[in-house]
C-alpha cells in the first residue's frame, strides 16, 4: 500500500513496487510469511496478474521458492466474468467462484488448513471487510505517494482496529498488522 492509501495505480499499475529496494531482512520476512501452507484468495484483476507472472520462466528463474509456493497453494478466485480457470504444469489448484457468499466463506474458515490470504484484490477486501469476514490486515507500506490510484479502503465502513505489529525494514518498508475490533 502506498503512504496515500493506494494498493494499485489508477489502471491497476504496480510498477511502483520497483521502489522497494533489495534487503536481506525483507526477503527473509516475505519468505517466512509464505510458509504457512495456506490458501490464496484473489479478485479477477489480481488473479490475472498473478497468472501472468508466477508460472512464467522469469518467475521460475528469479524466485523459484515463491513460484513454487504460489503454484502449489490452493487458490480461490472470485470473478463474475471468468467462465473457467485454466491449469498448467506451473499453475495448479484453483477454484473459481462467481460471487461472494458469506456462508461459503465462513465454511472455508472453519475447514482444516492454513490461513486464507488475500493479496491485492481491493474490491474483494472491501466486500469482505464490510461483511466482517476479515480477521487481520497485513499492510506493507511502501515509501511512495502515488497521487492517484485504487484506494484499499474505498467504501469500507468505519472500523476500529487493534495494532498487532509495526515493523520497519532498512529499505523503508513498514509492515503494519491490525485486527478489526468489533463495535
Amino acid at each position: 500500500m502506498t503512504v496515500d492509501g493506494f494498493f494499485a495505480g489508477p489502471h491497476g499499475e504496480i510498477d511502483w513496487f520497483k521502489v522497494i529496494k533489495k534487503d536481506g531482512e525483507w526477503d527473509k520476512y516475505t519468505h517466512e510469511q509464505s510458509r504457512s501452507g495456506g490458501t490464496l484468495m484473489f479478485g479477477h484483476t489480481t488473479y490475472e496478474m498473478m497468472k501472468g507472472y508466477w508460472p512464467t520462466p522469469d518467475a521460475l528463474k528469479n524466485d523459484p521458492y515463491m513460484a513454487e509456493v504460489v503454484n502449489n497453494s490452493p487458490k480461490i478466485v472470485f470473478s463474475k466474468t471468468l467462465k473457467r480457470v485454466e491449469e498448467g504444469p506451473h499453475w495448479k489448484n484453483i477454484m473459481l467462484f462467481h460471487e461472494i457468499k458469506p456462508e461459503e466463506i465462513i465454511k472455508m474458515k472453519e475447514r482444516e488448513g492454513g490461513d486464507i490470504t488475500i493479496l491485492g484484490s481491493g474490491t474483494i477486501v472491501q466486500q469482505l471487510a464490510n461483511l466482517g469476514l476479515i480477521d487481520e490486515y497485513g499492510l506493507v507500506v511502501v515509501p511512495i505517494m502515488l497521487g492517484a490510484g485504487k484506494s484499499l479502503f474505498k467504501d469500507v465502513k468505519e472500523t476500529n482496529l487493534k495494532l498487532l505489529e509495526a515493523r520497519a525494514f532498512k529499505n523503508g518498508i513498514v509492515v503494519l498488522r491490525y485486527q478489526p475490533v468489533l463495535k
Partner: protein
Amino acid sequence: MRKIIATEFYTLDGMMSDPKDTMDWVLGTFNEEMGKYENEIYDSADTLLLGEVTYKIFEGYWPYAADNPDTPPGDVEMAHKINSIRKIVFSKTIKNVTWQNSEIFSDIDPEKLKAMKQSPGKSMLVVGSASIVQQLANLGLIDEYHLLLHPVVLGTGKPLFKDIKEKVNLKLLEAKDFGNGVVLLKYQTAGK
C-alpha cells in the same frame, strides 16, 4: 536550511479528520508518548503554517485552554507553546487576527516560502490544514511528513493527500509505535 514539516493525525484510509473535525478518534487514544512527540516537534519549530479551518479551530481553543480548569494538563503546557509561536494563516477572507503572534498571508507564494527556508530559524510546521499540505506538496516545498497513523478506518472524512499531482518518492526516517496502537511514520521527501 529550515525545514517545512507536515505533522498530521492520520487514519488507515488516508483521512486527517472526520467530516465534522471533532477528532474523537485522536482524543480517545492520545497518550504520554504522543504528548512527548508533540512537545518535541513544537520545540523544534518557530513557525506554524495553517489553513483557515485549522486556524479558526485552534484560535477557538488554545488562547483559553490554560485558564480552563477542564483542560488536560498536557494541553496546558502545549497552550503556552502554541500561543507564543509565530502563526501564519493563509487566507484571502480573514481580514484581521487577534490571536497572539499571528499574521495573515493572502496566498501561498513559493518564492517567499523558499526565502523563509533560506533565512535563519527553526523548522516550520504545517498542522492539520490539509489544503495547505496539498498545495505545498505540489510545489515541492514539504521536506518531511510526520504521520501519526491511528488504528482506524473512518469511512468518511477529509483526505490528507487529495489532488497530489505527481508521484513523491519518500525515505523512511523513523517508524515508532506509541504503545496505544498509533504508529508514527516519519518520511523525508527529495525536497526543492
